[in-house]
């Protein structure tokens, strides 16, 4: 190779102004090798960081499952766990029936979604199709703020604001119940539903809107007949991610749903969710005991549920991105 490698060339290349070319400047071969080694190192670090998320997800599953496994393969009756309502982990003859906890989780999530889906999708449509400019910016910032409020603060609100409010309005003795938790969860899930839903609506090409409006359709008709069907998948994904958030939420439901193991008959019943049970009991158990391990079994169950919900949502989103 006929290239000169001059380091800090003595002659000023500016001396050859006009037509000529200066010498090709560069590192000496030894320093070039060092430079390459340094870059190789950095790129290796980048690649490792790139897969870190995969490592962490596996790590989460491994370490949670690892604590659960001895019980899971050593005498836990899974059938009983999933169907029996008898949760007496502390008694001399402990029973691990988590049905009431599962029912509590489902009840709170379901009611939360009944509130959050119409509110969230409605707000997504309003922000995306019926507002513009400054209004839109402000709305998005407020919804971002809604997402930023920590869950322990929501729990606190459930305790000190919602609780007396529900007691007064529904004339019940206790205001810490399914309804209370569901309202909090709804407000917490709404930002996800709005932002993913808005993305889905934005992904519908403007030509659809223009074509429909050119035919004399009103904004609402365009939204109802054209945009919503076209954005169906994305809106579904938005709802799924909201569900994922609600199922996994811990502090708010721990503080606001009344803390009683109970299959609820009405929204005014107190319950305890899977997450709340883990959070409130883990501190009291001896490490390695059956009670301790059954909480990790419940954790594995939660991990699997949210994994499936997120996987489905991701596949659905991929669907709408591809089109």
């Amino acid at each position: 190779m006929s290239r000169e490698e001059v380091e800090g060339a003595g002659a000023n290349p500016g001396a050859e102004l006009g037509t000529g070319l200066g010498p090709r400047l560069g590192r000496s071969p030894a320093r070039q090798r060092l430079h390459r080694a340094k870059e190789l190192l950095i790129e290796t670090v980048i690649r490792v960081c790139g897969v870190s998320a995969v490592i962490f997800v596996f790590g989460i599953f491994y370490f949670v499952f690892r604590e659960a496994a001895p019980l899971l393969f050593g005498g836990l009756d899974l059938g009983e766990l999933l169907t029996s309502g008898e949760w007496y982990p502390d008694s001399d003859n402990p029973r691990y029936g988590a049905f009431a906890l599962i029912a509590g989780t489902l009840a709170v999530t379901l009611l939360a979604m009944l509130i959050a889906v119409p509110l969230g999708l409605g707000a997504a449509i309003f922000v995306s199709e019926f507002s513009r400019g400054r209004t839109r910016e402000i709305l998005k910032i407020v919804i971002e703020l809604l997402a930023a409020i920590p869950s322990v603060v929501w729990g606190f609100i459930g305790l000190v604001i919602m609780n007396p409010l529900i007691i007064d309005l529904f004339d019940t003795p206790v205001g810490l119940n399914v309804l209370n938790g569901a309202i909090l969860l709804a407000l917490m899930s709404v930002p996800i539903i709005v932002s993913i839903g808005e993305d889905a609506l934005k992904a519908v090409p403007d030509t659809y809107r223009e074509a429909a409006e050119a035919m004399g359709a009103t904004r609402w008709q365009v939204t109802w007949r054209v945009l919503l069907p076209a954005a169906r998948n994305g809106l579904l994904a938005a709802v799924l991610l909201g569900v994922g958030r609600a199922v996994g939420e811990t502090m708010a439901v721990l503080m606001a749903t009344g803390h009683s193991v109970n299959v609820p008959d009405s929204p005014l019943d107190s319950v305890r969710t899977i997450t709340a049970t883990i959070a409130s009991e883990l501190g009291e158990t001896a490490q390695g005991s059956d009670h301790y391990r059954v909480l990790f079994v419940l954790g594995s169950l939660l991990f699997l549920i949210t994994f499936l919900v997120n996987l489905t949502a991701d596949l659905v989103i991929r669907g709408f991105k591809r089109r």
Binding site: N12, P13, G18, T19, L21, R24
Partner: protein, 254 residues
């Protein structure tokens, strides 16, 4: 025409983007210090050909290159130091790209990345390259301004200055004069005539006159095929070897 000891040689070059073939069966040799004009309608593979040469095409997802490309007899796809290869080639893309840094830093970028830290050396390189790109007088007083804030034509000349900053042996100009006024174009052409003493130049252009003024030989690419390559006057004359060349040059299609 057989070129003795070609500077650059393409053998059976084929480029595909996924299912689409961009170049096929390209055999081309270029002599040292030659200016090779390349003409052809959009989508003929002119830019792909240049991007094969400096191996930036390999960063495009889905692009696949087969065949043999040599510089001074050395297979470029076997070179381990890709940056070293790219420093031997100056590349000027059709759309001007000022990097989001000062004018000075734009031109000093390549030497710095190659390890030059001496301020006096860098000053020299910056002035030489900006002068060669006919931009010096306009930016002499504002070397600290953002490169992206220059006008389109100035950014294009900045790109040329950047391409010269690492003293390449080969210069690829891909329709460099699109954004530049005729007077400035002429000034750069004068510089090119001088530069050819030091380097081999690929000149992709659709300006017949420009090719005539500068190119020793001209190649005509059509839909990924190298239709013909020959002395410029022959290609643009009344009797090119291929009928399609005549049709294109004389505006029957394209």
């Amino acid at each position: 025409m057989v070129v003795q000891h070609p500077k650059i040689a393409f053998r059976d070059l084929k480029v595909r983007y996924g299912e689409k073939t961009a170049l096929e069966g390209i055999n081309l040799e270029v002599a040292k210090n030659e200016i090779l004009g390349i003409i052809g309608p959009a989508g003929s593979g002119k830019t792909s050909l240049l991007r094969v040469l400096n191996r930036t095409l390999q960063n495009t997802p889905g692009a696949k290159v087969t065949g043999d490309v040599r510089i001074d007899g050395e297979d470029i796809h076997r070179m381990r130091d890709v940056s070293g290869l790219r420093r031997r080639i100056g590349m000027v893309a059709p759309l001007p790209v000022g990097l989001p840094m000062s004018v000075y830093d734009n031109v000093a970028f390549a030497p710095r990345m190659a390890g030059v830290t001496d301020k006096k050396v860098l000053d020299g390189v910056v002035e030489r390259c900006l002068r060669q790109a006919a931009l010096w007088e306009e930016v002499e007083k504002r070397l600290g301004d953002l490169g992206t804030k220059l006008s389109g034509g100035q950014q294009q000349r900045l790109t040329i200055a950047r391409a010269l900053s690492h003293s390449p042996e080969i210069l690829c100009l891909d329709e460099f004069s699109i954004a530049i006024d005729p007077v400035t174009t002429m000034r750069i052409e004068e510089v090119l005539k001088e530069l050819r003493k030091h380097m081999t130049i690929f000149l992709v252009t659709n300006l017949v006159q420009q090719a005539r003024r500068l190119a020793d030989r001209t190649a005509f690419l059509l839909l990924g095929e190298l239709v013909e390559v020959g002395p410029t006057e022959e290609v643009f004359g009344r009797n090119p070897r291929d009928r399609r060349t005549f049709d294109y040059v004389h505006g029957i299609f394209g």
